[in-house]
């Protein structure tokens, strides 16, 4: 395998048959390859997220990030699109699932794809990864500090994100969870509750919580970046996908 890749913006069919923008990267000389749907965080379909998409391709996976804000702000810069989406109350769970499903369908159809699909997301994307894993048939899910999985958002919040833990019995795949011990959203207590629930249900999962790391420790362009946690986390992600998306 070399690290040759091709990356570009494409149009995919998302929820309700809508044509939406997405960022695709794929390896040029690795086949068959597994695929990863990358769910961008709440601040949007930004440069740092696209860099993650390319990183997967450089490591032998096709990766695709649907722009969840395509409908509300087509063509706008990522920060303006995120602001517009926030002002509208965020993106509905059904729509996210439809867009992730559309991305997975697109990836499965790529020449050289082995048909296996992983999903990964950070922050709100971590929650949406868990949402996808309890709703869709996928092969491996990586939840990076997804919030509101155990308790949802409080009732007086303008953006409603219901808890997902009651849907855990529907989990379709193994889950890798990566968290910071100094995070407040999710708190270490919430991570423990989810861990115990998945154990109780007999759902394959591995959770890692890092000392000295809070929320967004993977964000290379933020002061929250924690190099030790992020480097180890990436190693765990590739080991996990290597195990579940290979072949």
């Amino acid at each position: 395998m070399s690290d040759a890749l091709r990356a570009e913006t494409v149009t995919i069919t998302g929820h309700n048959g809508d044509e939406i923008e997405a960022y695709l990267a794929r390896p040029l000389d690795t086949a068959p390859f597994g695929s990863v749907v990358v769910i961008h965080h709440m601040p949007g379909y930004d440069e740092a997220t696209k860099e993650m998409v390319r990183k997967f391709a450089a490591n032998g996976y096709a990766a695709l990030c649907p722009n969840l804000y395509s409908r509300v702000a087509p063509g706008a810069s990522p920060d303006d699109a995120a602001a517009a989406a926030r002002a509208q109350g965020g993106v509905a769970d059904d729509q996210v699932v439809g867009d992730v499903d559309g991305a997975a369908t697109y990836l499965r159809a790529l020449e050289g794809a082995n048909g296996k699909i992983g999903v990964i997301g950070h922050c709100s994307g971590g929650r949406q990864t868990f949402l996808s894993a309890v709703t869709l048939q996928i092969d491996a899910a990586v939840d990076c500090y997804g919030a509101a999985v155990v308790y949802g958002t409080p009732k007086d919040f303008p953006i409603t994100m219901p808890a997902l833990i009651d849907k855990a019995p529907n989990l379709s795949c193994p889950v890798l969870g990566l968290f910071g011990k100094e995070d407040k959203f999710p708190t270490p207590e919430e991570v423990t509750v989810l861990d115990e629930e998945l154990t109780k249900l007999g759902k394959e999962h591995e959770f890692h919580s890092y000392d000295g790391a809070g929320h967004s420790f993977f964000s290379v362009d933020r002061p929250s970046y924690r190099v030790e946690a992020a480097v180890d986390g990436w190693q765990k992600i590739f080991a996990f996908y290597g195990k579940h998306l290979a072949g």
């Binding site: 994100m161 995070d183 929320h215």
Partner: protein, 91 residues
């Protein structure tokens, strides 16, 4: 953390954005990651005019000290002027 909590209010006034002056009709206030300010979290304020599209936005990312001082300064400036002088119903 993203609090997801967004205070949203209708406003009346104008602001100067990337394409010059425009009317602003909506403000959102929330705590979240900063896009540009070198802090993990900031208090963010967007002044928007959705009718002009998502790019019609004036964005601020402030530390909480700055945001609270700004709120106090707004109250002080308005308190020093006759009531109603800057009201939407000013005569």
């Amino acid at each position: 953390m993203c609090t997801y909590l967004t205070e949203k209010l209708a406003i009346t006034g104008s602001g100067k954005g990337p394409n010059g002056w425009m009317g602003v009709t909506e403000a959102t206030v929330y705590v979240d990651h900063a896009v540009h300010a070198q802090f993990t979290h900031t208090l963010n304020i967007d002044f928007r005019n959705p009718e002009l599209g998502p790019s019609a936005r004036i964005a601020l990312e402030l530390t909480e000290e700055s945001a609270l001082a700004l709120a106090d300064a707004i109250h002080a400036a308005l308190g020093a002027a006759p009531a109603g002088l800057t009201s939407v119903n000013q005569s």
